[in-house]
């Protein structure tokens, strides 16, 4: 008898849960239904795909999605990018908005979990009907969101340097692809530091792909591979790897470690008595923000390759850095992905204004060849692959946590995600997926 009663209440609970869900869903669709008023620019309401993310603007603003990890292991990097994107939105709104409307950010937490990124992207596009989304950090989160944006014909601005081999018609890549960061860095190292490379990375797709490219490049240009090592994400003891590096005696350690592992690696490298004058390291995932976590004294002298440093001396950058510090605190720093996220918002704004609409297809069309004076210098959207023309830079960490630029490419480098213009890279990409 007891059991049966128990069961009955369980059923009630389940019913209540379903109702809750249903209510939640209904509520949302009601909200969306109530505010479908066409945006100022998009004269044709919803082209072919009525339900699929047809960009909309509510009466008083244009909704955009911000989708980064605010919890979990990736929050250490992504929260700052979100901050920069929100700052850009605030600035634009203060200056009158886009198409005379305010931008309304809808912030979601990707929770460092790739399926959650996909879920939230879908929610932003279908429930909130945002005009565009700024978000992602890891390649995995981008890969997870990509099918959603392609299916619903949404628009994603991805702000982080990555391993290339991709050009989705629904994504704008405002970070560097390999030929704007890794390839020039390797060339510079071969010329200035030595031929013998030791490749060290975290075990995920970016380091593995980057190293595959580097190996091909070394082979073509007379470099030598001293070793290749991957550590699990979150690896924190590098004593054995440092021993291996010491035994291999490379000229250069090319470091594609991610996040927390960098802190452990550089601290332990210094403790083992290996300083930057004894061994050159080149990192591609260590920026000003990471430098704070590592400790500026520890990192000093080590090299990094980026497209932006906080130390860049230009009026645009000064304005950006000052605004960021004023908004979030004097102790905060800017870095490449933060700048790329900030730039992305402005690029989208420029494209929308040029198109006179937030319609995805129109914005994409308008974005072709669009130029913008970003903090890193003039950037231009490549109409073909939707990446940015960027200046490649190499910097040296200073004891104050900033990077001193040692070299730059002068002109902005044309993005080439599949490395099609590099002979030695033939056969790497295996065709475009």
């Amino acid at each position: 008898m007891k059991r049966k009663r128990t069961k009955r209440f369980g059923i009630l609970a389940l019913g209540a849960g379903l109702l809750l869900l249903a209510g939640c869903g209904a509520n949302n669709s009601a909200n969306n239904g109530a505010s479908p008023s066409a945006s100022g620019g998009s004269s044709q309401p919803a082209s072919s795909s009525a339900a699929s993310g047809s960009p909309s603007a509510s009466g008083d603003g244009i909704k955009v999605g911000i989708l980064h990890s605010l919890s979990g292991t990736m929050a250490i990097s992504e929260v700052s990018v979100r901050d920069a994107e929100l700052m850009a939105i605030d600035e634009i709104n203060a200056a009158g908005g886009v198409l005379g409307k305010q931008i309304v950010p809808v912030v979601e937490d990707g929770a460092s979990d790739w399926p959650t990124f996909a879920e939230k992207a879908r929610k932003l596009l279908t429930d909130d009907k945002v005009a565009t989304v700024f978000g992602g950090w890891t390649s995995a989160s981008r890969k997870a969101m990509l099918p959603v944006f392609e299916e619903l014909n949404g628009l994603l601005w991805y702000p982080v340097q990555y391993e290339g081999m991709e050009k989705s018609p629904n994504i704008f890549y405002t970070g560097a692809t390999t030929n704007q960061q890794i390839v020039p860095a390797v060339d510079w190292l071969l010329e200035n530091k030595g031929k013998k490379f030791y490749l060290l990375g975290s075990d995920y797709v970016f380091p593995r792909t980057a190293n595959m490219i580097i190996k091909a490049q070394l082979k073509a240009k007379g470099g030598e591979l001293a070793g290749e090592e991957y550590t699990p994400l979150g690896h924190t003891d590098f004593s054995t790897i440092i021993s291996k590096i010491q035994a291999a005696k490379p000229d250069v350690v090319f470091n594609t470690l991610n996040g927390d592992s960098n802190v452990a690696f550089f601290k332990q490298l210094k403790d083992a008595g290996i300083t930057s004058d004894k061994l050159t390291t080149m990192s591609v995932s260590v920026a000003e923000e990471e430098a704070r976590g590592i400790g500026a004294d520890v990192l000093a002298g080590h090299l990094t390759a980026w497209n932006y440093f906080q130390s860049i001396d230009s009026p645009e950058n000064k304005k950006f850095v000052d605004a960021y510090k004023a908004k979030y605190g004097a102790d905060r720093v800017t870095d490449d992905p933060i700048e790329a996220g900030y730039t992305a918002v402005y690029l989208w704004k420029a494209a929308v204004e040029k198109a006179g609409s937030t319609d995805v297809d129109k914005v994409k069309e308008a974005a072709k060849g669009l130029e913008f004076d970003a903090p890193e210098g003039k950037v231009k959207i490549d109409g073909d692959n939707q990446h940015l023309y960027k200046v490649a830079r190499i910097g040296e960490a200073q004891p104050d946590g900033q990077f001193k630029e040692l070299w730059n490419s002068g002109d902005a480098v044309k993005p080439d995600p599949y490395l099609e213009t590099y002979d030695w890279a033939a056969g790497l990409s295996g065709g475009n997926g």
């Binding site: 550590t231 690896h235 054995t240 601290k267 403790d271 923000e289 400790g295 500026a296």
Partner: protein, 300 residues
């Protein structure tokens, strides 16, 4: 030749770190049978205490004193984690004695909250700790360098271990603690306040986690998700060693550290980790009680 020496030192160092993170757990899990998944977050609290101490010293004391911050940070980390542990025990753990698996789930929720709390207070990015000058550099030994920090951690583990031994086996408080852990009813009958002993024991285990976090700030990252990197390793050490035995925990840490270092040396970091864990799983099949078994004749 020298590589082998260095590797021997490295395995000792890795073992000492594993032992340091596992010692607190050896108490809360080994003696009290509480599966504290927030142990990693207590380590994190210790690391952030080091960070706060550093900032206090840098801001309020003359620069010449800066090097001393770390010496203050260790007891401070112990105290902070101790207090957090005390609060945790009073508000939560005491309802969970005898329900080890429930304690696992509840403390996992605690870990979640503490992580987000750290993110709210200190910001999401990692923070940096400048290590004191007297711990920089290392002991040169035949062409290789034994970092002072790693030597310091080995020393710290030994000191902690001795302190724990003296407390548990040589002090009146430790005697009460063992009495309660072995036979709660009997101890209560003898007039021991089991509530107080429970609270103290859990808090001490937490405090040691704080010390571990403080030491780890020397060689690793300091961020909100710091604890997640260590928690499973810590449990493995305790289980491998044999629950309820301090000596077992030492043996477990040594075994795991040595195998991990050499496997990693021969293969790579990922495979090394897989091999170590596979060995532990296989070993526990063979000896479910761990390296140092505690014998009982009871049915369950």
């Amino acid at each position: 030749m020298s590589v082998w020496l260095v590797q021997m030192f490295n395995s000792l160092s890795v073992s000492s770190i594993l032992l340091l993170i596992a010692l607190g757990l050896a108490i809360t899990f080994g003696l009290m049978n509480v599966i504290n998944m927030a142990h990693g977050e207590l380590i994190m609290i210790g690391a952030y205490t080091a960070y706060v101490m550093q900032n206090l010293f840098a801001d309020y004391l003359p620069a010449s004193w800066f090097g001393a911050y770390f010496a203050v940070a260790i007891p401070a980390a112990f105290c902070v984690s101790f207090l957090v542990g005390l609060a945790l025990e009073a508000g939560l753990i005491r309802f969970l004695y005898g329900r080890p698996l429930d304690s696992l789930l509840a403390t996992w929720g605690v870990g979640m909250v503490l992580q987000q709390l750290a993110r709210t207070i200190f910001g999401a990015p990692n923070v940096g700790v400048k290590s004191p000058e007297w711990l920089n550099g290392g002991l040169s030994l035949g062409g290789s360098v034994l970092p002072y920090k790693r030597l310091f951690i080995i020393g710290l583990v030994i000191v902690t271990l001795i302190a724990m031994y003296l407390y548990i086996y040589r002090s009146a408080a430790g005697r009460r603690m063992r009495a309660v852990m072995q036979n709660r009813q009997m101890a209560a009958c003898l007039g021991i306040s089991t509530r107080r002993v429970d609270a103290m024991t859990f808090a001490i285990g937490s405090g040691i986690a704080g010390v571990a976090g403080c030491a780890l700030s020397l060689i690793g990252p300091i961020g909100p998700s710091l604890g997640t990197y260590y928690i499973v390793d810590a449990f493995m050490v305790v289980v491998l060693g044999g629950v309820g035995k301090l000596l077992g925990t030492v043996a477990g840490a040594l075994g795991m550290g040595v195998f991990n270092t050499y496997f990693e040396f021969w293969t790579n970091a990922s495979l090394g980790k897989v091999l170590v864990f596979a060995c532990i799983v296989a070993f526990l099949q063979w000896k479910p009680q761990g390296l140092v078994a505690m014998r009982t004749r009871s049915l369950d």
